[in-house]
């Protein structure tokens, strides 16, 4: 289980963004987090994954009983936490496939498993690329180098497919996607979600939630989760906005 308790975090200049987040995500669940711009949704993903621009003031984030906040960013990832960023960074000169191989081997080394064989790696990569309808250009290009917004998002899901994390925090994965790309990415998320793997989906729109059905919907505002509910909550938000929420 991913258990976030009273998480408070600030920028390095002391500006507090997260003001006491409480959230529990069990294996196999799909959670959607919604909220107005600037409410702290992206910060939550970055703080849990160990972004150096933030400091944790208080609270804990436990993944299967281990406090992630005590770990380095790579250790958090290898424990099974995956944060897909809203604007994936471009790293020219790092070939996409080489990067995927290194990330996968790093995880296997952390889990004290041997390196993946060429055959197994290629099989998994081919399957994942087929799932996400990605062509061979993605193999040789630099990591996100020159990718369009949609291609970057698809590449994030490719990484998720190769690393198979226990908890995937997908930050506005649907933004900037055309209709076809949204369908492909949603299919990919549904395919990768399983009884053992949970998804936390940050979104502003109902359209992705029509395809990736959430079990729970949360409203994050002013650094706190102010309201939680079922899928109907997203429909209500789509219709009525956020003004009606107490404390909004």
């Amino acid at each position: 289980m991913l258990s976030i308790k009273n998480l408070k975090a600030s920028l390095l200049d002391g500006t507090q963004i997260l003001k006491g987040i409480n959230l529990e995500v069990k294996p196999g669940e799909i959670h959607a987090i919604m909220g107005i711009n600037g409410s702290g949704k992206s910060t939550l993903a970055k703080v849990i994954s160990g972004h150096p621009a933030y400091q944790v003031d208080e609270g804990s984030v436990e993944l299967d009983g281990k406090n992630l906040l005590d770990l380095e960013p790579n250790e958090r990832a290898n424990e099974g936490f995956f944060a897909s960023t809203q604007y994936p960074i471009e790293i020219p000169g790092v070939p996409n496939v080489e990067f995927l191989r290194m990330a996968l081997d790093s995880k296997r080394a952390y889990l004290k498993e041997g390196p993946i064989s060429d055959e197994e790696f290629n099989k998994r990569l081919n399957e994942a690329m087929e799932l996400l309808e990605m062509d061979d250009r993605y193999r040789t290009r630099g990591l996100n180098d020159g990718f369009s917004g949609g291609e970057k998002k698809r590449n994030e899901i490719l990484q998720m497919a190769m690393l198979l994390p226990k908890y995937s925090f997908l930050d506005e994965t649907d933004s900037g996607l055309d209709i076809d790309a949204l369908r492909i990415v949603s299919n990919g998320i549904n395919h990768l979600h399983s009884q053992n793997r949970a998804v936390i989906l940050v979104t502003h729109y109902q359209r992705i939630l029509d395809m990736v059905k959430p079990d729970f919907v949360h409203v994050l505002m002013h650094g706190k989760i102010l309201l939680s509910g079922g899928p109907d909550l997203a429909l209500k938000l789509e219709k009525e906005g956020y003004d009606w929420i107490e404390g909004a």
């Binding site: 380095e72 960013p73 790579n74 000169g93 790092v94 990067f99 996968l104 790093s106 952390y110």
Partner: protein
């Protein structure tokens, strides 16, 4: 030729701190080199013995005037000539295609190439295996119409050596010359490159990657003189500097009055891997025509924090993430080099350098 070079070098004298073209170079050290004493002290005899050399140059169609000794202001370019270095002379016939190596055996060396119309030449400069206190090599390239030349090196160098490398290039219409240099030297080196784009659409590139540590220092003095219309030129330098290593890059472009359509760029990117590493960049643009595109840029920093975080957030530990970023930064230097032999050679050396 030796006499003219000797007179000129003595006229110039050893450069001092205030000589702009030697900005930041530790010129005070030059006086300590025995082999340079003849410059300041005219009582030290220098035997003039280059008749056979001049004759050999003449047989290949070269005149003393071709080396423009009277216009030369760089003592490092004059040094091999003044000390009577025997010139290695080669004419690559029109339309021929050749790959070769340049390997100086002496302290002072001079290499002259005429690459005739349409010929294609790839030259690797191999370093002298003998460690010396000081060495100077000069390469003159006369590149005729539509000929293509690649010049590349992957130097390791000697820790206590002062090395001068001079390259002078004259390019005719439609010719292409691209230099690719990987410097992993521990030494003090000065590279002086002057390229004259004398014919329309002549194309020049200078790409260098300096991976320096210890007290290694690289001083680049590059001048690209656009003297004809529609000539592109590129200067692209990347530096990875650790410990107290330093690079000083003085890169200049002159776009002459008769040069519409000049397209030049100069870019220097540096990653400082220690607090004591240093980079100095001095771009110079002299533009005498309105229809030109000349750009220059310079970035200095440490490894990008966002990139490091991104790689770590995918499970790669910090040390390997840093190595991956450094390798990517370094390999970018060969991406746009247009000739395969140099590209492949540097790719191989870099793969060995960054072997994980």
């Amino acid at each position: 030729m030796q006499k003219e070079a000797l007179e000129k070098i003595r006229e110039l004298g050893l450069p001092g701190k205030k000589v702009e073209d030697w900005y930041k170079f530790p010129t005070a050290k030059l006086g300590a080199y025995k082999s340079l004493e003849f410059i300041a002290n005219k009582d030290i005899p220098v035997e003039i013995d280059d008749a056979a050399n001049v004759e050999r140059l003449s047989e290949s169609g070269f005149q003393i005037a071709d080396f423009e000794i009277e216009k030369e202001n760089d003592i490092s370019a004059l040094l091999p000539l003044a000390l009577g270095a025997k010139s290695f002379v080669k004419v690559v016939k029109a339309g021929a295609s050749e790959n070769g190596i340049l390997k100086p055996h002496d302290e002072f060396s001079h290499t002259v190439f005429r690459i005739e119309k349409g010929a294609k030449v790839s030259l690797e400069i191999l370093e002298n295996k003998i460690e010396r206190e000081l060495s100077a090599e000069r390469i003159d390239l006369f590149v005729e119409e539509d000929a293509e030349v690649e010049l590349f090196s992957t130097e390791v160098g000697h820790a206590n050596e002062l090395k001068f490398r001079t390259i002078r290039v004259h390019q005719a219409k439609g010719s292409k010359v691209h230099i690719l240099d990987l410097n992993r030297s521990d030494s003090l080196r000065r590279t002086s490159v002057e390229d004259y784009l004398e014919g329309e659409a002549a194309d020049f590139g200078y790409r260098a990657l300096n991976i320096l540590r210890g007290s290694a220092a690289e001083h680049d003095f590059v001048r690209v003189s656009h003297q004809a219309p529609k000539c592109p030129s590129r200067q692209f330098i990347r530096n990875l500097l650790s410990e107290t290593a330093s690079v000083n890059y003085d890169g200049g472009v002159i776009a002459g009055a008769n040069c519409p359509g000049t397209d030049s760029s100069e870019l220097v990117n540096t990653i400082l891997l220690s607090d004591d590493a240093r980079i100095h960049v001095k771009p110079t643009l002299k533009i005498f025509h309105d229809d030109v595109a000349c750009s220059h840029g310079n970035t200095v920093g440490s490894l990008d924090r966002e990139s490091l975080y991104y790689l770590q957030s995918r499970g790669i530990d910090k040390k390997h993430a840093e190595e991956l970023l450094i390798e990517a930064f370094a390999k970018d230097i060969i991406a746009e080099h247009p000739f395969e032999p140099g590209k492949q050679r540097l790719a191989k050396v870099l793969a060995e350098t960054f072997l994980r």
